[in-house]
Amino acid sequence: MASNVSLWGTLTTPLIRQNPVTLQILGICSALAVTTSLDTALTMSISLTVVVVLAAGIISAIRRHIPNTIRIIVQIIIVASLVIVIDQVLQAYFYGLSQRLSVFVSLIATNCIVLGRTESFARTNPPLPSMVDALGSGLGYGLVLMLVGACRELFGSGKLLGYQVLPLADQGGWFTPLSLMLLAPSAFFLLGALVWTMRSIWPEQADEPDFAPHEIEEER
């Protein structure tokens, strides 16, 4: 079970094949809110990855001592403590960035991916596989966030990580920024297009249709 191959598989499966955002549609709220620029998306991905890995490690280490009836409370306390630490670190060293991320770092405590991994995996597995699994989920989340964040920053303001990549029309260049990209709906569109693309490439990711459209018999 604990061979290198399965660890590698645990790490890479959530990147594309079982991506928490595009396949399981988890963590959408923060994915929409913090992707207006690449640096906030990057910070958010790192914060979430750190939280989910540490939480998985701690919960997995004490998994035999958590009473089953209050396990959710215990998990949330551990996750929330880690989130507070991350939030304080961000406020201490990256104050401007933490102001732009506003409440969403604190909201990692309620992120479905964190609780989902601790509840479904870390609670029943040893620390090392749990942390690798959590790292994979965090990276899968980060991958989607970066993609959406890069698209939105590039087309919304012509920048990437704050550097002007596409010359703006009002500064003598050719690129007219698409202001819609900086508004929340565009994240929905991009995420929808991403899910659509992924499910076209890997059809096994697509859900079963709820019902088949029936064909109406032609009346002659």
Binding site: T176, L178, S179, L180, M181, L183, P185, F189, G192, A193, W196, P213, I216, E218, E219
Partner: protein, 257 residues
């Protein structure tokens, strides 16, 4: 759905035929510039219909031409080719073709494309519709209702409210023109408007009410912008209006036993 000569394309062609007075008036008013814009939008929409036919075996529809015409008339002016292409692609693909083609879409692709361009490029000026387009819209509504591809309940209820508001001085003439053109081109679209009798009355009333609210309360909004926003919200509310009509009918049936 097919019944006799009536299939999807008959409806689309009759809608196109009804739009001819509006198209001719608009081309006379805008000249070469308008014609080029229309050709560009037609090609862009047509290519997407072609792409979906090849990729998904989805039959293309003449309704795509109506969509293209509506976008050419109503989209913000002075946009470059690339923004225009992004807008029309988004509207046609995400508004119509992704759902399975004309007849299965939830919102009108032209409304989506124009709203997308309006929100995406807020600096671009909205077109000012020449006043004769309002008269041409009446002709289009008349043909559409006569051949039965436009719901007269929507047109009558919306027009009644709008004309009364204009007569009472609550609606300026540019707003009335824009509201009339958007009403016939987008709101009366048989796919995305309400489909029940009561729902259609409510659909027209809701559209007119939204136009009046936006025209009076939205500072600095252009006439076309007001009408498009009202059309977008109305088409989103159309299923709700149908649901209200059906609930009311069911409740009355139960009451009768």
């Amino acid at each position: 759905m097919t019944r006799g000569i009536w299939d999807r394309e008959t409806v689309a062609l009759l809608l196109l035929a009804a739009a001819m007075p509006l198209a001719v008036t608009w081309l006379l008013a805008t000249g070469m510039q308008g014609a080029l814009r229309l050709v560009f939008v037609l090609i862009a929409a047509g290519l997407w219909h072609l792409a979906f036919m090849l990729a998904r075996a989805q039959p293309p529809s003449f309704a795509g031409a109506l969509t293209a015409f509506a976008v050419a008339v109503l989209a913000p002016a002075e946009l470059g080719l690339l923004p225009m292409l992004i807008g029309i692609s988004f509207g046609v693909v995400a508004g119509e073709l992704a759902f399975g083609g004309w007849g299965r879409n939830v919102v009108n692709p032209a409304t989506v494309a124009i709203a997308f361009l309006g929100f995406g490029f807020p600096a671009a000026p909205w077109p000012v519709l020449p006043i004769q387009l309002g008269w041409a819209a009446i002709a289009m509504a008349a043909i559409g209702m006569l051949v039965g591809v436009m719901a007269w309940r929507i047109a009558v209820s919306a027009t009644a409210v709008l004309v009364i508001a204009w007569y009472g001085g609550m609606l300026a003439m540019p707003f009335l023109t824009a509201a009339a053109v958007v009403l016939v081109l987008l709101v009366c679209d048989p796919v995305t408007s309400a489909a029940t009798d009561l729902g259609r009355w409510l659909n027209g009333l809701l559209y007119a009410a939204l136009v009046m609210v936006f025209a009076s309360g939205w500072q600095g909004a252009a006439a076309v912008q007001v009408a498009i926003s009202a059309a977008l919200l109305t088409s989103l509310a159309a299923p709700l209006l149908d649901e209200i009509a059906m609930r009311r009918w069911l409740a009355r049936r139960k009451h009768l036993g």
